[in-house]
């Protein structure tokens, strides 16, 4: 384990975060957007876990934080999907670019 430097984990997290962000900001399908958001949150989790193990001041709290993040992310996505469902019932679409009745 010692072979892998902390920066690699951090870079991975950063890349993951960016991929997630990119997905969340560009994908038309709302489901994919939600999944991309999950990616971003998971990037956070990687960061937290990395720091909790290899950080300057390692501590367990990082991992605890991760647990909370996972739980909350689940709730968030659940709510997101629920809302998407009701939107789909009304609008018959899951495309983000068609959600544009509210603007200006």
């Amino acid at each position: 384990m010692n072979g892998v430097p902390i920066s690699a984990f951090l870079a991975l997290a950063l890349i993951l975060f960016c991929i997630g962000l990119y997905g969340a900001l560009t994908k038309r399908n709302t489901i994919i957007v939600l999944i991309s958001i999950e990616l971003m949150l998971n990037a956070v989790n990687i960061n937290l876990v990395t720091f909790s193990k290899f950080g300057m001041v390692p501590s367990i709290t990082g991992q605890i934080f991760t647990v909370f993040v996972i739980a909350v992310a689940a709730a968030e996505v659940a709510v997101g999907i629920a809302i998407l469902l009701s939107l789909y019932r009304n609008r018959r679409t899951v495309n983000t670019d068609e959600m544009n009745t509210l603007k200006n």
């Binding site: 969340a24 900001l25 983000t96 670019d97 959600m99 544009n100 509210l102 603007k103 200006n104």
Partner: protein, 620 residues
């Protein structure tokens, strides 16, 4: 004399009373006005008589406190204003009386008397003022009185225009006076005449400053006295009822300019340039107006130009250091010119026209008016033994004695013209055959002829208070105790008197030839120099020049400013609101309803912030 301040209050009372109750009194208003001006007259005479034996009296009270400055109001009785008081109140009283007949039947009769009261009050107040500030105050008030009376027939557009013109032209002069007086105040520390004189004589004021301020003050006089180039309002002012012309535009208010210069004489005398300016303007005006008078056909306008011309004479006198001559002519002119105007009024009253070309042969029909008019004409023409002769002679002598030979000869020529056009007027109105059909030509009532008779007598005899033959009582008295005013009598060569007499007789003879005997064609001159005639007949196009320069320039400036207003001021506002609106539009456009755009904006914002942070913090 301690109660001289009451004199102006009588007419003021008349004004206020008639303003409030005039409507109920109807034509009985006249009695209120007449009685109250009579009171003024009586009191003025008492004051004059008192002044003959006593010294100058002056009283003042605090008026306005400005920090440490204390401005006062009060009154002063000296030789000059004691004399003026009598002249003003006398003419005013006579005009009040005359108007009762002249204005009979006018629906605004009480208003007319109220205005007369206001004017008389202001004029008497002006005369009594012991300082420049107070003089200025009343100076403006007489202007208002004049304005109201000129515009008395307010429904006539010409009257409206004339009133406006009179007010504005004189106001141009007034501003000069205001500036001059304020400058003088900061130089001498006072508005009081005696203090200003003391300061000037003590040499506390620099020469340029004296010249500047006295010329500025003279500008005020130019405006008020209808001197060139601010004279154009005075002929137009004839739109007012004729008694008003007699009172204001012949005898009193227009003489106020002369009075002002006379009052400020010690200051003027301290600057040669100022004196020369006064003299030149006076002489130019005298001849200039006289030439215009030659061509006019409106009876009142002829008289108006003659007034301008005569006022020029007075200015010339003052400018030529002939203090006494100027004041003397002021007095005699007041009488004979008022007489002429009242007589003219009587003529107009009879024939209901002002155009002399339509008159003629009235001598027989107007038994009183005609001889009185003749007396006035003789007096103004400078025919020996009448008042105008003596005073005009004094002026010519003063001009000669002062070395202003050019101005002297100008004055002589003007005198010739005066005699000519006055007799032209007389002959055309009273002799020959009637040139149009008159109905009900009748002599005016006694209330009108009475005052004319009084003035007629004065026009004959008033010259005798100051003659080289019987003694210069007036002159000696006027300059008594005040060396700055010069001598009571200036000696001049005897031939001047002869020249003056010859010139006036020549003028009369020429008029006789042309208009009475008709041995000389009336268009003898006109046909030979039509251009000159046309220029003169059009009053040298002064009005037109003003119209196309000053008035036009004012309009141009106004339009230019409107342009600024519309494009710069409003444009500024519009551009600011435009920017705000534009920003709003932009912001709203950005809000395109796309959820991911929102996130992108946030992310880009974040990225930019981090980038700037990195750059400024030196981390990259």
């Amino acid at each position: 004399m301690e109660n001289a301040w009451l004199i102006p209050l009588f007419p003021l009372l008349s004004f206020l009373f008639l303003l409030l109750f005039g409507k109920k009194l109807k034509e009985a208003s006249a009695y209120v006005g007449i009685l109250l001006t009579l009171a003024s007259l009586v009191y003025s005479v008492i004051v004059l008589v008192g002044r003959l034996t006593n010294d100058t009296y002056k009283a003042e009270a605090d008026w306005l406190q400005i920090g440490n400055l204390q401005l006062t109001v009060g009154f002063e009785v000296n030789q000059l204003n004691a004399l003026m008081l009598v002249i003003v109140s006398l003419v005013s009283f006579l005009v009040h009386t005359y108007s009762k007949g002249y204005m009979h039947g006018d629906e605004r009769f009480p208003v007319f008397y109220a205005y007369l009261g206001l004017f008389t009050f202001a004029m008497l107040g002006l005369v009594l003022s012991p300082n420049l500030l107070q003089t200025y105050i009343f100076w403006e008030l007489v202007g208002v009185g004049s304005f109201l009376l000129i515009g008395f027939y307010f429904h006539k557009d010409s009257a409206k225009a004339a009133a406006k013109k009179a007010f504005i032209m004189t106001r141009i002069g007034d501003v000069g006076l205001l500036i001059g007086m304020i400058l003088l105040f900061w130089q001498t520390g006072s508005f009081e005449y005696d203090e200003i004189f003391a300061s000037v004589q003590a040499g506390e004021v620099s020469g340029t400053m004296i010249t500047l301020t006295s010329i500025l003050i003279f500008v005020g006089a130019v405006g008020k006295s209808g001197q060139f180039p601010l004279h154009t309002w005075l002929p137009d002012a004839m739109e007012g009822p004729t008694p008003v012309s007699a009172l204001i535009h012949a005898a009193t208010m227009v003489a106020a300019g002369v009075y002002l210069v006379a009052t400020m004489f010690p200051v003027f005398a301290a600057s040669e340039t100022a004196m020369a300016t006064v003299a030149i303007v006076g002489a130019v005006t005298a001849i200039f107006a006289a030439t215009i008078g030659l061509t006019q056909t409106d009876i009142k306008r002829v008289l108006a130009y003659s007034t301008v011309s005569q006022l020029g004479y007075m200015m010339l006198a003052l400018g030529a250091a002939g203090y006494v001559a100027g004041v003397f002519h002021l007095m005699t002119h007041a009488f004979f010119k008022a007489l002429l105007f009242l007589a003219a009024g009587s003529v107009i009253h009879a024939v209901h026209t002002q155009d002399i070309e339509k008159m003629g042969g009235l001598w027989k029909r107007l038994k009183f008016t005609a001889p009185l008019f003749l007396i006035g004409t003789l007096a103004i023409s400078g025919v020996p033994l009448l008042s105008g002769f003596f005073s005009k002679d004094e002026i010519l002598i003063a001009a000669w004695a002062n070395g202003n030979y050019v101005l002297f000869w100008l004055a002589v020529i003007a005198a010739f013209f005066t005699a000519f056009y006055m007799f032209r007027l007389f002959f055309m109105v009273f002799t020959g055959k009637p040139r149009s059909e008159y109905k009900n030509v009748h002599e005016s009532p006694a209330s009108m002829t009475g005052p004319m008779v009084v003035l007629g007598i004065l026009a004959v005899i008033s010259g005798y208070v100051n003659t080289p033959w019987f003694g210069t009582f007036l002159g000696d008295w006027l300059v008594e105790g005040n060396e700055a005013l010069g001598h009571g009598h200036i000696e001049g060569p005897a031939w001047i008197m002869i020249v003056a007499t010859l010139v006036s007789l020549a003028g009369i003879y020429l008029a006789y030839l042309m208009y009475m005997k008709r041995s000389l064609a009336q268009d003898w001159f006109t046909s030979r120099a039509p251009t000159v005639y046309s220029i003169v007949n059009n009053k040298y196009f002064i009005d037109e020049i003003y119209q196309s320069t000053i008035v036009y320039a004012t309009k141009a400036v106004s339009l230019f400013l409107r342009f600024i207003e519309l494009f710069l001021v409003e444009g500024l506002v519009k551009s600011v609101t435009g920017i705000v609106q534009g920003l709003g539009k932009l912001g709203a456009k950005l809000q395109n309803g796309q959820v991911q755009a929102y996130g992108t904006v946030a992310f880009v914002g974040l990225a930019v912030l981090m980038l700037i942070f990195a750059l400024t913090g030196g981390y990259l």
